[in-house]
Symmetry: C2
Subunit: 519 residues, 2 copies
């Protein structure tokens, strides 16, 4: 038996066999019958001989292929060196082999189920959008722009947009987030939408990150958004849904919390000092770095925007406040910032998650379009980046030329939460689990095994059908790997009486049963 | 009441309000209290006034914002014209608003459930891959190549690859199909994989199509693949799974069928005439056009490849065969083509779908890497493009420099099947359905309504919580739209006794119940 033919009889062998043949060559390797190599070679032309005749490919009378299943047996063909491709996914991206996919599915199912419990409807948008959708019309300067990425020009303060030019010279981008697409769709649908709308989406988002350790260029994000509600009840409902999610997966208020503030805090302080509104986003950019760079550097940058030293001092003082009472003392009780926040904390109590949230004036969040309450989920050990973040963005639609609708929402990534679950030992054990493994004991019964499998599947049972004839030892090993509950064996003796053998794999219980009675 | 403030009180109004304010301006519109405009204006600077002071933003003593919730009331701000963005998704792409998403979810759930019944494990790969993964190493010439798309160079004969250059000068492409990524991952995982492996994926695929009517640049594809099995049982199992899918969604064998052939038929004919193997793919390209262009044009193109007229005649004769018996008469019974196909038809009987499949020698399918049996699902009225297609590709891995593994699989798009369902009147009616709509009758009870919602959600019931105070008429209208089963009303009189009002919306039954007893 030649190596190639034996490899085709046994796939495990074939997997380790060094390939000599390009795919365009014959795959006529024998499968069930063996033709001695010498015999075949004598009857057939080799591929190299065929290749030399290529330019005058006319019928030369050699009907050599008619009866043969032999091509690849010829050992002389083109031994062209095929360069091995890079087997890794592109930099910053992930494959999802079954074990990783099970985790992703588990996570997404919880996202979906929570969204369903809260009465939200699922939506999605193209992963490829017009670049214009992510570029702010006004305000921020564009810096570090190249043909294929740009920073700051996007709604995210620091995001590198993953953008290109397509063939029609259109500027397109892989979406860095979902909210601008939502805004686009809401403007498009206009008055046909019933407000308030409650939408959720789970979508892949892309950034052209510098490839530092652990940073990826793509992640999935769960978004929930409520449009049409100016009331703080909307923010309260959104945080409630994230809490519900955490509870489902075993995360408690001693593991995570929400830091809550309002953009209006900053705005009220700036207004006290008559700082122009159009500096607001710029100030937010600087504030957002407060835990990352030294305080003197923050001061220097704020000063460079034109803020007085007095304003900077008060700003930093206000930002350090962690108590709502204290904030009220400083800002007074009549401002919206304090009123909104007080209402949110009061609702949190009714919703039953007041243990989860705390006021923290330093939270501004990284999206330029937030206008009111902002919040972020954080791990209480302080080891991880923000788990999720959200806020109110009542003015986003008008930046696209649409009519504004009061709106708020959050994004929840698939990366940090998995790190947290890992750290807490809360990652679920997820295995492939099939109800049945069905196996014929000899080749002629393969069709019967197929019949058995079809019957079971029609009853809603999953079946790993063994599609080749294998020793029982192999079958048991496979059953263990697929966590099969039951083994159904189709053997000659039993089948002659219309029976199949059954083994319950957990208990070892064994019996024979008529196929019709198999449930 | 100013138009803007009233709009914020009533989201329906705000939706139709022409926006005059950019998002970076204040969103301090009053919500619950009204401050007469004159009063506010007198106390506060307008935004335009603030803007003019931008360059010297120091504390001028005007703590005008401290107590106000007034900013946006000032009617004088920058009335900058915002150009409305294109509200449509990019050419050839789709949004999925709730109604479309429900259909997509319904379809994908069936894909997933069938895959589960067959014991397949879900996987996924990056939507963005190295361009090299889709370019054939040898054989086909590259034509019509531009910087951002190329034809024929890819495994699909005719696909325009949607490709770019990224910032690091790497050539990347939005995947046109999933199989090359699967091959890459299998090579990467190597011997750690247990064969046979049965994987499925549902992924978005991209092509740079010319935008003719109904053609899109993206679609979702359900793939199932079996690797490690040289036996035709693998193909039989795959077709069986598609049949199971059709049956689940109400499609019968009188609606659709499978045309089945084998690439080996063509190969055997070509070998009879000593046509070099490396012309095989080129001939397939031409054959694949057989129903699209005149037969004389087909002959001319085949002749141009160097095929003799006799070979062309026999080729076309063989390709017109629709009966396996006839094929056997011409090719003889010893070849693999006939043996494979006979085995498949015999298995189809055992699996119970022989009514669904028919032999058709003209089927070659559009992927360059197929080596054996190929099949496509078609609608029997002949109105639509192929519904799905698949085949054996035993040599794909070695084109990437990996070790070959016998393999077969199929791709099933999300577009044609929906057209078919539409035509047959089989599209499901899918609506948002919530278990409860919960509503407080006055503002002070909003928190109680939140409490009720949380309790119900913890019991697994979905709740559309009304987050604002609305007239009952509005609530009933909303309940009708969300198909709520039950209305839970929180009113003052009942709540004083710890009770809530319940109305079963289908029957009209009404009662009061203690919150603790609400199930």
């Amino acid at each position: 038996m030649s190596p190639l033919s034996s490899s085709l009889l046994n796939p495990r062998l074939s997997f380790s066999l060094k390939p000599l043949f390009l795919f365009s060559q014959s795959s006529f390797a024998p499968r069930k019958f063996q033709i001695p190599r010498q015999f075949v070679s004598a009857k057939r032309k080799t591929f190299s001989a065929l290749a030399s005749e290529q330019s005058s490919a006319t019928d030369n009378g050699g009907r050599s292929g008619g009866g043969g299943r032999s091509g690849a047996l010829s050992p002389s063909p083109v031994v062209e060196e095929v360069q091995r491709i890079d087997v890794n996914p592109p930099k910053g991206t992930r494959d999802f082999p079954p074990e990783d996919m099970r985790l992703r599915t588990w996570l997404f199912n919880h996202f979906r189920e929570v969204s369903r419990l809260f009465g939200f409807e699922e939506v999605d948008y193209p992963v490829l959008e017009s670049e214009a959708l992510f570029i702010r019309k006004a305000g921020e300067e564009i810096r570090d722009q190249t043909k294929f990425s740009m920073t700051v020009a996007v709604f995210h303060f620091y995001v590198q947009l993953y953008c290109f030019e397509d063939r029609g010279n259109r500027r397109v981008a892989l979406r860095p987030e979902l909210t601008p697409s939502l805004a686009r769709l809401v403007i498009q649908k206009g008055k046909s939408l019933s407000l308030p709308l409650k939408w959720f989406a789970i979508g892949q988002c892309w950034r052209y990150e510098r490839m530092t350790r652990g940073r990826r260029r793509e992640h999935y994000q769960w978004n929930m958004d409520i449009l049409g509600l100016p009331e703080v009840t909307a923010e309260a409902e959104l945080i409630s849904s994230i809490v519900a999610f955490f509870k489902r997966i075993g995360i408690t208020e001693s593991d995570v919390g929400f830091k809550v503030s309002s953009r209006k805090v900053l705005q009220e302080v700036l207004r006290c000092y008559s700082v122009p509104e159009n500096l607001f986003a710029k100030v937010c950019i600087i504030i957002d770095k407060i835990e990352k760079i030294p305080i003197d550097e923050i001061k220097r940058e704020l000063n460079a925007t034109g803020l007085s030293e007095e304003a900077i001092e008060e700003l930093l003082q206000v930002l350090s406040i962690k108590s709502l009472t204290k904030l009220e003392e400083i800002l007074g009780g009549a401002g919206e910032a304090v009123a909104d926040l007080k209402e949110l904390f009061s609702l949190a109590e009714k919703f039953g998650y007041s243990e989860w949230i705390q006021f923290d004036a330093s939270v501004v969040r990284g999206l330029a379009y937030y206008t009111g309450i902002v919040f972020e989920g954080f791990d209480r050990k302080g080891k991880l980046r923000a788990i999720c973040g959200g806020g109110r963005y009542d003015r986003l639609l008008s930046t696209f030329g649409g009519d504004d609708v009061p709106a708020c929402g959050f994004g929840f990534g698939d990366a940090v939460i998995v790190e947290l679950l890992k750290e807490k030992g809360l990652l679920p054990e997820l295995n492939l689990e099939v109800d049945n493994i069905v196996c014929a004991l000899d080749y002629d019964l393969q069709g019967v095994a197929a019949e058995v499998a079809t019957k079971l599947r029609e009853k809603g049972q999953s079946v790993d059908l063994v599609l080749e004839i294998k020793p029982l030892k192999w079958v048991f090993k496979r059953a263990a790997r697929t966590n099969a509950q039951r083994l159904v064996l189709v053997g000659n003796t039993e089948w002659q009486q219309g029976m199949v053998g059954v083994k319950i794999l957990s208990s070892g219980e064994q019996y024979e049963i008529k196929l019709d009675e198999l449930e």
